[in-house]
Symmetry: C2
Subunit: 505 residues, 2 copies
């Protein structure tokens, strides 16, 4: 037990460490931003030394004996702290344990392995050679299993890795979730394929000059609710969002001149992430809680803007005349129906990141099943290509011509990122659930028909964004919708949207 004044000292030290840690995180983020938005490749060595040094200091600030003692003392007196402090201390304690329960030398070996492994993966993907990657993936999984023992877990060891990205989510819940998706989306996709309807998307691959696409993105972002004055919008090879402060939220897109959807949708997607970060309560500024609460909730904000809002019939109806004006030649003689259906065409494809809204979750489901099997031993690494191809055939009706376009397509596993994929599907489901509840308070379609996102964004600001990481994802969804994650809304939404587009009964 500690005295009150000691408690205050511990809090003071914690706050100082938090401030320094956030400052160093700021520096690391800017180094990443710099590297991704134009820094010369030739400076990579100097940059990686700088990133290593800054991370080293960040580690020392959070992981030391004083911090251990302070966190233990504070955890014993959680009831004497404010809500914000309670969440902060518990989260940091959890992070501290995660960083310290694994012996340092093993963690360093693991980091060396994943660094090598992701390089090997790149070549293996290029050469479509799974055998090259196999021993590395095998080792990565061995480490994850060993680390799970060090860290401790309840139920399934994979729970630990899900929890790293989506706190409170478990294998049991995900099994139910994906069972529902499988039961409803797979048949829906079959009905679409069997409908015989052919949608022409030739207009999407005409030439759309980059400058005009950029102009469109810059018109779209403030329309959605992103404040360009409190952020920075640039171009990069892979689109991403990075919040270095509530008042400095950065996002990128990329332009493909022969792919009209690409930049428009990635801008809407990153815009959703960025609007989340810009609207966190300023009361949380300067704390670890001033960021989105989980990968799944973050993804729900990008998906709701990208799919539920921008790709809706209502908003595309508003956008169509504007686009017609800007891209007269490219959209010549196209009816709105053709445009809307072309933008939402469903087509099973091999590559996750190119998938349409409907088939996307099937790509994720497949990865979830494989991750679970790899962790519980029911799937052997050596069998991965076979398992992958069978599942692709079963869910999407297509088989990759090679492993580069199949099991080797994503970088995640080579970096040890297990438990990350499911959050993509959770994001879409959360988005649909939230969209359902927004409709109880806001006339969503009328707003979208007028290009008026304000009531929608404000609803999200109030119900989701302001809390930052103060609420856990499960807690937040229940607080807003009065129920836990419910995949019904997502499946209903997909069925309704695509039944209409494909004239299904």
């Amino acid at each position: 037990m500690v005295e009150n004044s000691n408690l205050n000292d511990a809090l003071k030290r914690f706050n100082e460490a938090q401030e320094k840690s956030i400052a160093l995180q700021y520096a690391s983020s800017i180094l990443f931003w710099d590297a991704s938005t134009g820094a010369p490749k030739s400076g990579a060595d100097a940059r990686s030394k700088a990133i290593g040094t800054v991370s080293g200091f960040a580690y020392q600030i959070l992981v030391n004996d004083q911090m251990k003692k302070d966190l233990d003392d504070l955890m014993e007196h959680l009831d004497e702290l404010s809500e914000t402090q309670r969440v902060l201390i518990s989260n940091t304690k959890k992070e501290f344990d995660k960083l310290t329960k694994i012996p340092m030398d093993e963690f360093q070996k693991y980091n060396a392995l994943t660094s090598k492994s992701s390089m090997v993966w790149e070549d293996a993907k290029e050469q479509s050679d799974f055998e090259m990657f196999e021993p590395y993936l095998t080792q990565v999984i061995e480490y994850l299993l060993k680390f799970a023992e060090y860290r401790g877990y309840e139920g399934h060891p994979y729970n630990l890795y899900i929890d790293d990205f989506e706190e409170g989510m478990t294998v049991d819940q995900l099994n139910v979730f994906f069972d529902e998706l499988r039961a409803r989306i797979v048949p829906l996709l079959r009905r679409i394929s069997e409908s015989g309807k052919r949608i022409d998307t030739a207009f999407l691959t005409k030439l759309y000059p980059k400058e005009k696409q950029e102009k469109l993105s810059k018109m779209l972002l403030p329309m959605l609710g992103f404040d360009l004055e409190r952020g920075w919008f640039k171009e990069s090879v892979h689109p991403f969002t990075m919040a270095v402060d509530i008042d400095d939220v950065r996002l990128t897109t990329r332009y493909h001149e022969n792919d009209f959807k690409s930049a428009l949708l990635s801008t809407a997607h990153e815009g959703g992430h960025a609007i989340y970060e810009q609207n966190i309560s300023k009361d949380l500024r300067g704390t670890f809680l001033a960021t989105g609460t989980s990968n799944g909730i973050h993804e729900s904000q990008s998906r709701i803007f990208e799919n539920n809002f921008v790709l809706s019939e209502a908003f595309l109806g508003y956008l169509f005349p504007i686009l017609n004006n800007e891209f007269e030649e490219q959209l010549d003689e196209l009816t709105f129906r053709d445009f809307y259906e072309g933008m939402n065409k469903v087509e099973p494809s091999l590559i996750r990141i190119e998938a349409d809204e409907l088939t996307y979750s099937l790509h994720i489901m497949l990865r979830y099943e494989i991750e679970l099997g790899l962790i519980d031993g029911s799937i052997k690494v050596a069998d991965l290509p076979k398992v992958w191809n069978e599942k692709m055939e079963s869910y999407l009706g297509i088989t990759p011509e090679n492993d580069g376009k199949g099991v080797l397509q994503d970088v995640h596993w080579s970096e040890g990122l297990f438990g990350y994929f499911p959050t993509y599907a959770l994001g879409s489901a959360y988005a649909a659930q939230l969209a359902h509840y927004i409709r109880k308070e806001v006339d969503v379609d009328s707003c979208l028909k007028e290009g008026n996102f304000k009531p929608l964004t404000e609803w999200l600001n109030k119900n989701v964004h302001q809390y930052g990481s103060l609420k856990k994802p499960t807690e937040l969804i229940e607080l807003i919708t009065g129920e836990r994650l419910n995949s019904k809304y997502y499946c209903d939404y997909l069925e309704e949207k695509y039944s209409k587009i494909y004239n299904l009964k």
Copy 2:
């Protein structure tokens, strides 16, 4: 006395500290670059916390008891070290003493003062109100005098502050230098004024679209020898160069659409700085010596490209047809003679940063005399506006209409930057001296007439750039030219160039 193994340990610790220090310097630089090239203003608070935290760690790495002991030990064994190590250790010891001889609390008070002082200066300049700024400047000078006592100095206390920017330079040498400049440039300017020749510069202020100016800058930089692949060229409010690594050298310019000279010359100027940093020997990489050796030598590299090369009759003769092609309308019916003379017109003006090549040094001379007087007490702060205006009248024949355009025009003094100004004039003089010696080995005019900078840049790479900070400025100039700084070359160059333009006898 220490054992050899202890010496090795000390060196090892020094190298580790150096590596971390350079990594943190890298991070600070990128934060500055980010802020200067587009980061949202609204993120300034978070950024300044990050900069403060990173500097704090950088200070701790270099200033601690172990480092003090190691430096003392190593200083006793300099003769056992390599040349690079000797220079590194001596420089660091000097820096260490500078940082530690001033009591920490006074140094912090001084930092708070200059931070406030530069804010007050901004308002004072805006309102042209010297009295507002006077008490701050008075205090800044009091601190500088007090710090000089703590730090110790030989001869004049101002020697200390000159040495901070131009190691080895002294009041005695600068007095001789500026006496020579005064004796030759003031009469030259008078003869130009009395020549009655009128040069028309109307073409300079026509509309030059930014995109075309940018294209010109991007053509010029690689022509001068800057490797765009190992650097980054962007736009910012104030042009600057920043080397974060030998292979990552960044520079900016700014475009004024109604001022043709501005971007062209600032690109050449920053290009000179940047070419220096790109061509430092890679043997020095990762050490504190992998940067230009002094402000004056750095400035000589920017000036030689800007004035001696780009503004020469030979190179402008090469450039003129290219410009005519690009800016047909703006340069319509202009003869090369009119173009060359317009680009090099001499006109006494109030503002240093807008001054032409000839009058620039007079602006610096005036500031040098005032700094010296303020430090030795022969000029009172309260008398500054009067002294300023008298000197302006005496050297340039014009008097500012107010203090905002006079004594308050530069930020330097408000930040405590005394001893910095002289290096601008030294840079021009070094440039002329180097240009004189280049001619002994290279046919400079023939190269410039063909736009072929390669032999010139290679000469500078070999004689100046490669050494980084391995040689002191004085040492370097003697090594290259066989003599110390000699203002004769600069005065000769100016007389020859302007006599021809103004048809002086």
